[in-house]
Symmetry: D2
Subunit: 347 residues, 4 copies
Amino acid sequence: MMIRTGVIGYGYWGPNIVRNLAEIPEMELRWVSDLRSDRLRLVSARYPGVRVTNDYREVCADPQVDAVVIAAPVSTHFPLAMAALGAGKHVLVEKPLAATVEEAQKLVDEARRRGLTLMVDHTFVYTGAVRKIKQLIEDLGELYYYDSVRVNLGLFQRDVNVIWDLAVHDFAIMDYTLGVEPTAITATGMSHVEGTSEDIAYITVFYPGELIAHVNVNWLSPLKVRRVLIGGSRRMMVYDDLETSEKLKIYDKGITVTNGNGPDTVYKLLVNYRTGDMWAPKLDVTEALNVMLRHFAECIETGRRPITDGVCGLKVVRMLEAATESAKQRGRLIEFPSAAAVSAEAV
Amino acid sequence: MMIRTGVIGYGYWGPNIVRNLAEIPEMELRWVSDLRSDRLRLVSARYPGVRVTNDYREVCADPQVDAVVIAAPVSTHFPLAMAALGAGKHVLVEKPLAATVEEAQKLVDEARRRGLTLMVDHTFVYTGAVRKIKQLIEDLGELYYYDSVRVNLGLFQRDVNVIWDLAVHDFAIMDYTLGVEPTAITATGMSHVEGTSEDIAYITVFYPGELIAHVNVNWLSPLKVRRVLIGGSRRMMVYDDLETSEKLKIYDKGITVTNGNGPDTVYKLLVNYRTGDMWAPKLDVTEALNVMLRHFAECIETGRRPITDGVCGLKVVRMLEAATESAKQRGRLIEFPSAAAVSAEAV
Amino acid sequence: MMIRTGVIGYGYWGPNIVRNLAEIPEMELRWVSDLRSDRLRLVSARYPGVRVTNDYREVCADPQVDAVVIAAPVSTHFPLAMAALGAGKHVLVEKPLAATVEEAQKLVDEARRRGLTLMVDHTFVYTGAVRKIKQLIEDLGELYYYDSVRVNLGLFQRDVNVIWDLAVHDFAIMDYTLGVEPTAITATGMSHVEGTSEDIAYITVFYPGELIAHVNVNWLSPLKVRRVLIGGSRRMMVYDDLETSEKLKIYDKGITVTNGNGPDTVYKLLVNYRTGDMWAPKLDVTEALNVMLRHFAECIETGRRPITDGVCGLKVVRMLEAATESAKQRGRLIEFPSAAAVSAEAV
Amino acid sequence: MMIRTGVIGYGYWGPNIVRNLAEIPEMELRWVSDLRSDRLRLVSARYPGVRVTNDYREVCADPQVDAVVIAAPVSTHFPLAMAALGAGKHVLVEKPLAATVEEAQKLVDEARRRGLTLMVDHTFVYTGAVRKIKQLIEDLGELYYYDSVRVNLGLFQRDVNVIWDLAVHDFAIMDYTLGVEPTAITATGMSHVEGTSEDIAYITVFYPGELIAHVNVNWLSPLKVRRVLIGGSRRMMVYDDLETSEKLKIYDKGITVTNGNGPDTVYKLLVNYRTGDMWAPKLDVTEALNVMLRHFAECIETGRRPITDGVCGLKVVRMLEAATESAKQRGRLIEFPSAAAVSAEAV
């Protein structure tokens, strides 16, 4: 089966989507839509056989189109995705799924009602590094923490804050790898430029038991850092996305707890640390977008639920919305309905 | 004037104090006290002329002693320091000043009442790197943030959590360099070993205006990191204490705000970033303890107020106590009395 | 004046040349020639207005063509460049200029005889980093050494050894920045794959006085390293091309010589070292190929001698040939004719 | 058996020897000798029970002394070691064994004639990292190269050049780990301070087959580097002694050779590279001096031949002497007698 596809939006991310689509045998790039004619001229120059239009409704109206990929600003995700679903198309939306929980929920409901595939492009989930983390995370033992620093200089955006721009990646990775649902979130942050939203934010996510996650995102850092530490009772991982090789390292390190008895226990350590080998597994270097688009095609064909389906997109939007809300109130704790409740609501 | 000094406590930090004291011409090491006789035998072997005792009261009772240095467990700081002040000795206390705000306040009051020098050993404040940060911080422009990651594997301690062990360094550096008083604090954290306190904590400190600080401390990290970013409107600094040279780097980087007008402002950046030279100033490499002890001697002689005096120690303890309290309540915001109020209270 | 240009060779480097040519207003891309038709189809798809041909002679025969850029295998540089010069075209040749000193000399002679611009694409010379090294090198004081490590895994090539592939960059940088002519060269190396030439080589270049250069090139290294140290009597530089920012660092470090007298001079140091600030200047990030091609255009228009002219290309080929010859004889020293002699010969 | 030991020389290295000796149960520190009385006073203060003397002959004359450790300047190694052997003592000499091949040979002969243990303190051989390299080197497949960069700023020494100061470490590591004898050596170098010897040197060592070693040593580098790459046909190692953890990394990387046939083989690669996991084994962190001294004691007791015996010390001195000689003649190749010949000569 050949999946005929239309892409809406040819700004920053659209060209990457289109380039990868053009290389996937089971997908056919049929349309590109964008409001700006100069962007469409670029498409025509590079992909002469592709239809272009300023009006996305043409894409939705084409009965030859099976699937629509949305790579337009976040605020347009909801109306565009609803229109595509309404026209009976399978839909892939650039992250985040929508601008609010309410919108995301409606998309999930609409896709379910119509029996269509709804998927969100949480790109990092499809990288070799994150897929390997998923494979290896059970080896860490009981999970203790997920700690991410994702900072650099720029780029300020008008329609989203630094949480929606950067923490979205961690929320998606956490959702995919940790295997549990968060119970509460708290965030602090600050805006330093009048008229813009938070450019720095610090987010803590609580999970059942003793698992805690923290995400440090910053648009004002002189250094670029993309580093995640994941610690468990038996092993620990470091995922440094800026390393050219060895992005993922597994440390056979941990603590062993012993009872210290004796007269001077005030100085005695209760806990000793343990150091073993370090290991950096070979990672698949296939471009994540390629893996993601092939997964989209496969889900459409088989009816299988995508790894990053609408519910997954909804959960990430819920975290983004809650973190932003908490940051506006200097860290007010926002508790999530229980996982059971979420599932019930979402299914 | 020769300042005759007694040291109480010869465990982890005491030997460093003693070694440095022995090299400072204006100070004379007269006593070392410790409960453990094997520790005292070490002192006698290395410093045959020094008196040793199991009973710190001997040190306080010696009329030849001008000053006492306390390097014993945190829980003992208050009784030992009170005893020494009560005996008319100038007092230097290993960080943190005391185990509670109440104790710290009493020490400040007692020293003031008796006209004695009370100083806390916030060691980092006396390093070449932090003194240089203090000198250069005005060049950063308006301060935006202080962001510290201070993590490593171990060492768990029975009587303090990771905040009192590691964040204390940042609170002391912030107090010394930022030049403003915090208005509120919020922290999250987690303990992963039964019977111990927090081994991971994330602390946000709010300051007047748009300055925000964050401290990430962790005893369960496979990597050792000691990195502080300080950002301002004109320049940014990176202080990496694990670098063998170039511990401090000043980046001529920042953002410039422009108005984006036009039809597609949804995509238009309001803010551009700017990159210039980087510069790593030469740092004084004198051992911080040596600088600190000479400053203590000088303050005793001249009556000058120490850079890290009792009030400073009190403010840091207030932050430690508040952060710990907030972490126990999953990030409840704890507001500080206004700076004016603190000063009034403290003076 | 618009310089109408033909490019011969559209393999690895040609597309970069073509992409940059297409963006330079004072140059017009008129022809691309390659033996392989599939490569030419790529050209036509991306640059519909450009003429393509399998026969480079068409390019040379076109009277509308002012200049020819050669981006074909090294062994073809000489016949292609001679043909283009013979047809009265200005010529730019991908590095190295030719496969032998004899060929390079003939090209220099031919271009001089015909009054045409002959330039070699020593790309690194046109990077922001190397141009900054050139500007700052006098600040180093008396030059002591140039020490380069340029190693990585792969890519083996059939027609050149690792010296011609990697050391060529250092020889070009040395020629541009050091400001003196080498007096002798010695090299060692080894081939580890039957039927291929050296994959590892270590080259020492002697200069007048106490300046020495060393280049370590290796196709079998598990790490990628691109690091040059340049030391002088007053300051030292580190140029690390893999750094994303701060590629160039200037260290205010050096030695100071003092006389040590006394009974135990066997232990006394004659030389002390001195450490000051470090400084990483902002670098121009314009793509080197763009700078290089605009310089080619400017030289054609004005008749000015290119920074990397034919003589410069000849000198680099002389070093490559000598290093390869020395490596085959396990480090036999090969002396160069005096600088005066080279100039005389070359002018 | 308790081995009663005298140490001759208490300058830079002597205190480390003495400190470790004091902690080894099977050795008794009986004497320390040094020409300088102030150094001896330090010994007495720290080790009150130890005899001290300005005259090393007292140490040799004491019939209670079983073994002598020599930690004096290189030029004195020969007379001191001969005196100790002559007095029937087992001898451990700080590296290098002696100042010339002739001296080293005489020491080897004398020790053999008298049936005494002669050992050289090639300290690096006893580190956890180098012992692990030895264990793992067969996993690399056929050995291709050993490539070391060992550079930093200072310290100039009057009695040795940079080869004797720094390359000695690599020669010792190579002798221990590579398992083959060098066939020839060539070196270049330069002195930049009048009256001193080489402060920079580049040394190539040839081995049978296609194994080549290179050592880059430099006292004038703004960076400190201690990095050894070892490449083989199946795997590669990086040993970075400045890493605080993961000093040794094993890369499952290499090349695979295939035959490229076809019309355009000029561009076709003959060799592809292969990348797999990376692995950093846990290393023993026992201080190397401790391991070395216990090995010395064990060899004395059992009569076993030390890992770094006199012959090993002789071979390293032979390389140092040859490298220095070659560097003075701008890289003249110096061939070694065949391995068989060396052994015959040495046994």
